[in-house]
Amino acid sequence: MALASILRNASRVQAGALPRFFFKPASVAVNRNFSSSLCPNYATFNKNSNLNLGLFVPHSKILIAPQARMMSGDHSRLWPIEKALSVSLLVLVPAAIASPHFILDNLLAVAAVAHFHWGLEAVVIDYARPIVVGNVLAKLALFLLYIISATTLGGLIYYNVNEDGIGQTIRQFWAIKGSGKEKTADSSGSEKK
């Protein structure tokens, strides 16, 4: 009789007390963990989200992480401009030397500087990478390139405005003949920069 009651009570304990005991601290633990700083997004999630939608907001914020890119921005728009510039240089360089003209000289100066600036920018980005030379030096190299390109453009336009111009100067240099053999100065077109 006593044994029967003990067994019955034991079974009641197992059925009633044990689950209550396990579940109650469990829910406390859940509350404690969620309110602690273990979940960094919980604070923002709590502040600026509704109950249902909020669960997914920190998720999507994490999954769409910014990707590290070598090139900044979208290069697909600049690319056709670069190609058009290259094609224009195929015409400009011979033309500016064949028939020196103020407008051609300045067009050549702008096109050449833009062309070499983009080319050297690719060179700097390829070789002066932050992982190789450090963040500071990589940025400094790019900054220096901008300074050099701007100064060169200014210098070339200054030269075109105040002095002979690019095409005429190339012709003048090409007309110089050395002492070894005598040649007549040829003034036909050439495509030297």
Partner: protein, 174 residues
């Protein structure tokens, strides 16, 4: 009697199991499984990962046999850099030099230096230009989707080399 035993055993069992200090269940640690947002893997760049693994840089230049394709490609960049250097020297020279460049050219003409030196200088100026010019056309053709088979890449490469050298020599001898 039965009620007594029932009450007593319940208290004993409760004490035995649920007492905070001596109860058996105080030894059981509650474990919670908690859903957490997935952490994205650590962002590691291509170079960073390869450096960490000790891999050589690709292309592995010290073991790679030089090929026409790669050599023409890198020399396109090299000639472009040379031409950029000439242009930068010109632009900065126009700003920095005390006299105009044509004055120096007149001095050079008056100095009557040897023609070999002059021709060498002209070739150094002309060849990067012609090379970059003709190979640039080759690159623009590729950009338009032309001559992209390996055979055509080699063929245009040889044609470009001949054109570049020939036009440079022609320019120098002008």
């Amino acid at each position: 009697m039965a009620t007594f035993f029932r009450l007593g055993s319940r208290q004993v069992l409760n004490h035995f199991l649920r007492n905070e200090k001596v109860g058996m269940l105080s030894l059981v640690r509650p474990v919670t499984l908690k859903a957490q947002p997935a952490c994205p893997p650590k962002e590691m760049g291509h170079d960073e990962r390869n450096m960490k693994l000790g891999r050589p840089q690709s292309p592995h230049l010290t073991i790679y046999a030089p090929q026409l394709t790669s050599m023409l490609s890198i020399s396109h960049r090299a000639t472009g850099m040379i031409l950029a250097g000439y242009t930068i020297m010109w632009g900065l020279g126009a700003v920095v030099l005390p006299d105009s460049i044509s004055c120096y050219l007149e001095d050079l003409a008056a100095a009557n230096v040897s023609s070999i030196l002059l021709c060498g200088t002209k070739f150094m100026l002309a060849f990067p230009m012609t090379y970059h010019f003709w190979n640039g056309i080759r690159h623009l053709m590729w950009d338009m989707g032309l001559f992209l088979t390996l055979k055509e890449v080699y063929a245009t490469g040889y044609v470009m080399l001949i054109l570049a050298l020939g036009s440079a020599i022609a320019l120098v001898s002008m």
